[in-house]
Symmetry: C2
Subunit: 224 residues, 2 copies
């Protein structure tokens, strides 16, 4: 079995992405980040999802992005509520260079594992308009990654960034996950959870999730 590194936040998208990597027959190594996010509850979800989907190893790396700030997820900035989720503006929940940082660390682990496959659950349909979720960004990262490493230089291992969700709507992602048996009660999407981790239901991530479940014809198992 080919090894793959899967970025696993604990949210709906990355859980589905991991299930899809498993379906493709990869031996999965899940990577999560304790980056000072407001919704640190997602890390418990990542652990549960990793266990249920039987990854070979799950690492959580600490990296304090609050030292840079500049986002409602990592700084003293309120998470906007009940905003227009169809807006094309990049919202204040965007974390500067987050996917680049996460993919760079995935690249390091992939190289050590001698893996040429990284999965990331980015999605360019129903998403928050983040620049580092777009296909042209992912392609540029892959080009760079193939020049960055020892295996890239020796051409012993071509690195592929897999984005199986990129062209799916949130509803399609949920439908796909349901066919693969993803337990969405284990996942956490809310950016601004209440005490005990309950989802707020009003941030853009909750809104996109609720809309997705509604369109997919399923009941979201989370409490709001």
């Amino acid at each position: 079995m080919k090894k793959a590194v899967i970025l696993l936040s604990g949210g709906l998208d990355s859980a589905t992405c991991l299930a899809m990597a498993k379906e493709k027959g990869f031996d999965n190594y899940a990577l999560s980040f304790d980056y000072g996010q407001r919704h640190k509850y997602e890390l418990q979800s990542a652990q549960s999802v990793a266990n249920t989907l039987k990854v070979s190893e799950h690492k959580t790396i600490q990296i304090d992005l609050r030292s840079f700030g500049g986002s409602a997820l990592t700084d003293q900035i309120d998470v906007p509520k009940d905003v227009d989720i169809d807006s094309k503006d990049i919202p204040i929940t965007y974390v500067p260079a987050r996917n680049t940082i996460f993919l760079s660390l995935a690249l390091a682990w992939a190289e050590v594992l001698k893996s040429g496959d990284i999965f990331i659950g980015v999605n360019a349909m129903d998403y928050s308009g983040y620049p580092d979720c777009r296909p042209e960004y992912i392609e540029a990262f892959q080009n760079m990654a193939n020049l960055a490493t020892k295996s890239g230089v020796e051409q012993s291992q071509k690195l592929t960034i897999h984005t199986p969700l990129i062209d799916l709507t949130k509803s399609e992602i949920i439908q796909k996950g349901m066919t693969l048996g993803v337990d969405y009660s284990q996942t956490h999407s809310c950016y601004d959870p209440l005490e005990l981790g309950q989802a707020c239901g009003h941030c853009d991530s909750c809104q996109l999730r609720l809309k997705g479940f509604q369109e997919a014809g399923f009941i979201d198992p989370l409490q709001y």
Copy 2:
């Protein structure tokens, strides 16, 4: 003054690179990493260099690359001594994806600072053959970075990765630094320091440094 983020390891190259950014008139923000490196002494040097060259801010980010390992600098692997420094092989001191990780974090800080300028002291002449020091890698990172961020999408800020040392020999770097008043007694290059931080004189980094000083016609102020 334009702000710039400078990757500052505490070594000879990055100290010179910072002095060159200062010479170009940038307002400098220095970024160092406590990544589990064997030669953690370099972080004291980074602090001294940052103070002497009067940066506006110096951050040291913790990120434990020992959790991935795979290098003599971050794993239970001996640092090779007295090896052929002209060899074209990538040595075991190569840290998987290190410059990609460091540049990604520099990109995050640059975005928050609204800076479009990152300096990195990579060098493709007298270096250890690391893949992530080559010009084609730096160019690919810059292309990716210009798609990764909010300012990239809005085209409000073009990001440039500056590599002022890339075509210089180690001797030329030292000569340049001496004209700019870099105090090389503050820098640390050794990968495998003895107790109290004294340089070993035999790892490839020490060998490249000693050869550089000799060719430049200066005495290395460090004790070996």
